[in-house]
């Protein structure tokens, strides 16, 4: 697919922001072994906001090793309790990572995520970029490969940029860069001469970017095209003809709610040319 599509799974980046550790001492009679096992039993279950799991320290500490529970997106720590704050399915990753898999349409910026932004304004030394969040992000003109004060990058208002967040928290204005930590572009920067930009849900984007993505593999078999997938739900597609571009865009938008079976049937029908 080319360097433009980063296929490693960014979901874990949330954990860098939301990490919290709860030490649980397994204890025979007390409730929290039950609580911890209750929590573990719920993996794969749908949980609602307000569901609480409490882990309390016993008065006498046994000599068993303390267990650590790491909370990801959708889980919050409230003293000795773990509170569910989004509705979704509880997922678990060895050894001790838990998170809530929830569906969302609205993007909330997270550090390290690569997104497609649209330049909306040029003001002095920075560009204002619309990433689909609650605030516009800022992108310095020096944050491009080979850019100096004399050698400004060729970026106009309305251009598409593929960049990643270096600052993205709730208290500060988000900041983007188009270079990595070594100063190389690494696939980021301005793109999009021609092609079509459209929006899908965040869940579909995560499924597309997963390392062994079925959807991406099925799409590859159709016909050659270029694709850029941003974690903010924006996807850019370009193919040889406008018709093929539109076909790929429509397929991606429609395969959101389909099972694998239905999707493969649809793709096969399109590849055969019956649609």
């Amino acid at each position: 697919m080319g360097e433009l599509q980063r296929v490693y799974f960014r979901f874990c980046c949330f954990f860098l922001v939301f990490l919290c550790h709860i030490y649980c001492f397994p204890y025979q009679k007390c409730t929290f072994t039950d609580m911890l096992s209750c929590f573990k039993d719920k993996v794969g279950d749908v949980l609602l906001p307000g569901d609480v799991f409490s882990f309390q320290m016993p008065e006498s500490i046994t000599d068993s090793k303390p267990e650590k529970v790491v909370c990801g997106p959708g889980l919050r720590r409230n003293g000795d309790e773990v509170l569910v704050c989004k509705s979704g399915i509880l997922r678990h990753k060895q050894p001790n990572l838990y998170w809530i898999d929830s569906q969302q349409r609205r993007y909330v910026p997270g550090k390290g995520e690569s997104v497609i932004g649209i330049i909306t304004a040029k003001s002095g030394d920075i560009f204002k970029v619309d990433v689909g969040g609650s605030e516009q992000a800022s992108l310095s003109y020096l944050a491009f490969e080979g850019a100096t004060k004399r050698n400004r990058p060729n970026v106009q208002v309305g251009d598409l940029v593929y960049s990643q967040f270096i600052i993205a928290n709730k208290d500060m204005e988000p900041e983007l860069v188009c270079i990595d930590s070594c100063g190389r572009a690494n696939g980021m920067g301005v793109f999009g001469a021609g092609g079509l930009l459209f929006k899908v849900s965040l869940g579909l984007v995560r499924r597309l970017l997963a390392p062994q993505s079925e959807i991406a593999k099925d799409l590859e078999k159709m016909f050659p095209f270029e694709i850029v997938v941003g974690m903010n739900g924006r996807v850019w597609v370009k193919s040889k003809t406008i018709q093929q571009t539109l076909i790929v865009a429509n397929l991606l938008e429609s395969c959101e709610n389909m099972t694998a079976q239905q999707r493969q049937t649809l793709f096969r029908r399109v590849a055969d040319g019956s649609i």
């Binding site: 307000g50 704050c85 990753k93 909330v108 609650s134 062994q212 993505s213 099972t259």
Partner: protein, 241 residues
């Protein structure tokens, strides 16, 4: 709609659907008997500088009646819904952003405020906004004989001597918001609160079943994408900085 004694309160048949509108970030439709409300949530989105709050999200509720323009009655209901939502949303996670909740009356056959509350809760859940608890709205009417009726329809509301709506939270079943009209004794108020708390159990169970059903439609556990998600770790990725 049914008259109840001191045992289990009966509610009208209710139904709900999530994620039915394509533009809002979250949407839901809640039906209680013949009363039907459509809710849409937008957010966290950009906020006007005059309305922004430095440490929390600004919640705006808009109630659209079935006919005509919104009037004072709608403003009063907006206030009740907004206070309940603000108490249960974790708005400090999205400072300087705006959350907009739009409630459209599709049909009003009594218990409208509780229908607003229920559809608002489902829409906020559908949008993925972080919440500390869920809330359910229950309406009780006291008729001229002194009987407590839960979830009254429009005819029963008109003949009642007092009408009360409570918003009950899901964690401790406490009253988050109350809106009352008419005259009643303290004992009757406490009786209605107790009845509402019991009725809210059914509503919370319904929320759970409804979300379970809709999550089951969206997420297919047998897809390859899910398994790969469990197997990757960004720390192992050489490109991660």
């Amino acid at each position: 709609m049914d008259v109840c004694g001191s045992s289990s309160p009966t509610l009208r048949e209710f139904g709900c659907e999530q994620n039915l509108l394509s533009r809002p970030d979250g949407s839901s439709s809640f039906v209680q008997g013949d009363t039907s409300v459509l809710a849409g949530v937008y957010g966290p989105a950009e906020v006007k500088v005059s309305k922004e709050i430095y440490d929390r999200a600004t919640l705006e509720v808009v109630v659209q009646p079935k006919v005509g323009l919104p009037s004072v009655r709608e403003r009063a209901r907006e206030q009740c819904v907004r206070e309940t939502c603000e108490a249960s949303l974790l708005s400090t996670l999205h400072p300087r952003s705006s959350l907009t909740l739009v409630l459209q009356v599709v049909h009003d056959d009594g218990s409208l405020l509780s229908c607003f509350l229920n559809s608002a809760c489902m829409a906020l859940m559908d949008a993925g906004l972080p919440m500390s608890c869920l809330f359910a709205g229950v309406t009780c009417a006291i008729d001229t004989d002194g009987q407590v009726i839960t979830d009254p329809n429009a005819a029963q509301e008109k003949e009642s001597r007092a009408l009360m709506t409570f918003a009950i939270d899901s964690t401790e079943r406490r009253v988050m918001m109350s809106s009352t009209r008419g005259s009643f004794t303290v004992h009757e108020l406490q009786q209605c609160i107790a009845v509402s708390q019991k009725a809210s159990d059914k509503i919370f169970q319904f929320y759970r079943d409804s979300v379970r059903r809709s999550q089951g439609l969206r997420w297919f556990p047998r897809q390859i994408g899910d398994e790969s998600r469990d197997g990757t770790d960004v720390r192992d990725d050489p490109e991660h900085h």
